[in-house]
Symmetry: C2
Amino acid sequence: MFNSSITADDAFVGPIRLQKSSRRPAGSPESFIYLRGAQVYAGSFQRGALVRIVTGCVCLFQTLRDGRRQILDVLGPGQIFGAGQIFGAGLCATVSLGAVAMAETQLEEINGEIDASGRADILQRLLGRSRAHATLLGLKTVPEKTATALLDLATQFPITGVDAARNTSSFKLHLTRADLADWLGMTLETVSRCLNDFKRNGLIEFDRPSVITILKRDTLLSIASGRHTPEETKHPERLP
Amino acid sequence: MFNSSITADDAFVGPIRLQKSSRRPAGSPESFIYLRGAQVYAGSFQRGALVRIVTGCVCLFQTLRDGRRQILDVLGPGQIFGAGQIFGAGLCATVSLGAVAMAETQLEEINGEIDASGRADILQRLLGRSRAHATLLGLKTVPEKTATALLDLATQFPITGVDAARNTSSFKLHLTRADLADWLGMTLETVSRCLNDFKRNGLIEFDRPSVITILKRDTLLSIASGRHTPEETKHPERLP
DNA sequence: CGAGGCTTTGATCTATCTCAACGTTGGTGG
DNA sequence: CCACCAACGTTGAGATAGATCAAAGCCTCG
């Protein structure tokens, strides 16, 4: 209940780790490079700015007074979010919102090209994701949560040009087990156990912990949506 | 994990329980009266319609295939939400979104008066609430969740004209214990226990279960935001 | 004033957290 | 190029918050 692998403090040490891109192509929209762990400042952007992720990965998160963190969303290339004042309060204003890069990440500000109606569309997408996430947190079990997360991440961070033959797909996991835990409302140990259960049951595969291959997408889908009694969900029984 | 006090099916039985208001004042915007338990149909409104709650209470919820329900938000008078197409999909499209009236509720369609920018503002408010709710579900404890909910509901459903003298406030609780449970990601028994713990510790007061008086707002606030070690949070020890 | 639906309370159970130890890996400097 | 270190990951055993099961009370509305 207190996983702090997002070392937000690092990003506050100074401007060194938070760099405006020096390699921005001339004439393109204002663009920034963030290193892994760097906090995306609301202050870096215009009030109400919208930002598009060009490459990399950003986590939006909220923090309670006592340091507990909830990751609210994990966004990949192409996703747009509000970096300026779109950090709203909610049910109870005792929370603060932030964003961190989970990998080397390129962001570009896109205010000019988006009108109010486009802005509403973006907010609506984020709202849909947020609601699905709330449902996940409120009533899904550990395997259901994990399967849901894997499917979402596989869509957002595919590693292309592999295994087209077998019906599998791989993706880059930019989050640590602790980050996943903070996202899914569980502990890092439970995340690890569940991933390894999936692995032992042949649903996924991984050598290094940050590249995951999905072997049985259909099964994961059915676990994710709550149909499913079977064994993929359980620890295999110990042999006598 | 399977509280089904929202009898959504009722609303589908026929048009009887879902009534367009026959008592709409002439010249005012299109207005509808829903009875308690009636489902708010996307189909009743224009595509992309926005709806304002005039009086009453509406719960937005999502359902998993197997019937588990997550209440995503509880909205009171003055709140605006999307009744038409603003029912988006999210992380994993295996969820469906709906809305029910939790009391006799008057809604009015307000499309004309809201432009794209106003729409963005509304979505942003809902997004803020949704994110705070995700944080609640993901990392708050039972007393923290309950305190947060009480404070939100007290703001939205105040019963005026009482207890101005003592620094207390009362509100109408339109939700059952089971509804609260579905909202806060816990069980109805746990909700009941926590409310009665608060009552025994003098934080709140209630005779009939649906009218609650807040006696110690500050303490609730500090519980809600996660500061707080003290005893209000715990069952009182059994006496020897 | 009776029935059905809420609510409360108690006793038990269990999924998940906690605590702890050990294994892996990738980056750094010798 | 290799050895070491710190951060990350895995695994086990035990503890616990909250769920589940069960049984009364109590409103409230017809």
